[in-house]
């Protein structure tokens, strides 16, 4: 498949499904090539912001500010980034119930990091953000030269949402973050390995992985909210170097078949990177 064909395919799939916007970024380690469509367009990050948070947590561990075994009090009370008002993460809107079940007690940093990524726990994310700090994670992003990632606040901060203060990402930014992890240059080789191991245990597989052959392994993180559906992953195939693919989409509220279109775009990217193999 040619680049122009991939572009037409992606745009066609998105338009056919009714998406308002789509962006794709690819980096192929096999051919050392990159490809992008709307790669620098900003999207609401939804739960893909948890990848930068993971980087920030491992940076804090590397700097000795935290230990992966450190315990964190599980408390569902956070403060809005815009007015300091207290808010909670609604358990009914959180994909993970295990962290909510630990209210009042403590969980280890490593456990929270796993819940944050593997089952996309919003509560775990906010607890880690509280411990590490938004400003510190932003500094980590700066140090890693990760433009295209704009962490502003905790998850489910409705007051911030109403005022338009949201976490944002671009396909390029997220692709660069995954590339650092795969190249073992994110924080440290050991930290990269640990983050990769967590991403490999992802439970949500209806996006990028669903468009791939059964023997493909994917380390990915999804993001899903009323007006956005994303997936970003590192794809490992037999007998070739891996490739990174990031698919970001924007929709009218609660549009249908959003993960399905991401899976179809994932298939098109697979066909593109493996063409001629």
């Amino acid at each position: 498949m040619q680049e122009a064909t991939l572009r037409e395919t992606v745009l066609g799939l998105a338009e056919e499904a009714g998406a308002n916007a789509v962006a794709v970024a690819i980096h192929d380690f096999e051919h050392r090539t990159s490809w992008r469509l709307n790669g620098d367009r900003w999207f609401h990050a939804a739960s893909t912001i948890k990848v930068p948070v993971l980087l920030g947590v491992f940076d804090a561990i590397e700097e000795g500010l935290l230990d992966s075994r450190s315990r964190v009090h599980v408390r569902n009370r956070f403060f809005s980034a815009v007015d300091g008002r207290a808010y909670r993460v609604e358990s009914s809107r959180d994909a993970n119930s295990e962290v909510h079940a630990a209210l009042g007690r403590t969980l280890r940093v490593s456990e929270l990091a796993e819940h944050m990524i593997i089952t996309s726990s919003n509560l775990a994310t906010n607890l880690l953000l509280d411990v590490v700090g938004v400003d510190r994670i932003r500094a980590t992003m700066d140090r890693l030269h990760l433009e295209g990632i704009d962490l502003r606040r905790g998850v489910e901060d409705e007051a911030a949402w109403e005022q338009g203060l949201n976490n944002r990402i671009t396909a390029d930014g997220l692709c660069r973050a995954l590339r650092l992890i795969e190249e073992r240059q994110a924080i440290s080789p050991e930290a990269s390995d640990a983050m990769l191991e967590i991403l490999h245990r992802q439970k949500f597989r209806s996006g990028i992985p669903a468009g791939l052959p059964d023997d493909a392994r994917v380390a990915n993180k999804t993001g899903d909210m009323s007006t956005a559906a994303h997936d970003a992953g590192i794809v490992y195939l037999e007998d070739r170097q891996p490739y990174i693919v990031v698919v970001l989409t924007e929709w009218e509220a609660d549009g249908n078949a959003r993960q399905k279109v991401i899976a179809r775009i994932s298939r098109a990217v697979y066909d593109y990177v493996t063409a001629g193999a």
Binding site: D67, R71, H73, R85, A86, R88, G104, R105
Partner: protein, 202 residues
């Protein structure tokens, strides 16, 4: 003869890293700016097993009032750990509450004793005196709604003389996800014999 569940020690005799975290006999300012003198006498808990297995009252084990997280000073996340002797008075107050409600009373992590070195402390938190408890659950009821918190506030006020309950709400100085009760800036220096005092300095 003294009857304490753990050895009692003079905080000023502790190694520097502990004195830095515990600040025995020093002062903190409360919300009004008034100076409050921190406890000087502490119980020494040597291990997690000792905390887990040692009752302070009929229904409260030591571990229930010393749970902390990564925000606590490092020396107070390890063992031996030191807690003000007034934690015994707190346990006694909680025991009254426990007997009345007839079910488990759960104190949150960071919701019992916190040293002055704990990052969550504001002003002169009574948690630094070992006289405050954040109860997040009574039996199967989580205290994260007004009705439940109000109900158990009434119970605590009726049973515990002099208790102070943090007001319900989401503003600064209020809580809406637990019942904070405390016995104020209370210190407790148990009477000890000369031999016990000498032993505590070792």
């Amino acid at each position: 003869m003294l009857s304490l569940p753990f050895p009692c020690v003079d905080g000023l005799s502790l190694p520097e890293e502990y004195r830095t975290a515990l600040r025995p006999g020093e002062t903190l300012r409360d919300r009004t700016g008034r100076k409050r003198v921190l406890p000087r006498t502490f119980l020494r808990i040597d291990s997690w097993e000792a905390a887990r297995d040692t009752p302070l009252t009929a229904h409260f084990m030591a571990w229930e009032l010393i749970g902390v997280d990564v925000r606590e000073a490092p020396v107070q996340r390890a063992f031996p750990r030191y807690v003000p002797c007034a934690v015994l008075l707190l346990a006694a107050a909680l025991e009254l509450f426990r007997m009345e409600v007839g079910t488990y009373v759960h104190v949150a992590a960071n919701g019992g004793y916190r040293s002055p070195g704990h990052a969550l402390n504001h002003h002169a938190s009574r948690h630094c005196w070992g006289t405050a408890a954040n109860i997040y659950r009574v039996g199967d009821t989580f205290l994260h709604e007004r009705d439940a918190i109000t109900k158990y506030t009434s119970v605590a006020r009726r049973l515990i003389p002099g208790v102070w309950i943090r007001p319900f709400g989401g503003a600064d100085g209020e809580v809406d996800d637990h019942l904070h009760l405390d016995l104020g800036y209370t210190t407790f220096d148990p009477l000890q014999s000369d031999e016990e005092l000498e032993s505590s300095r070792k």
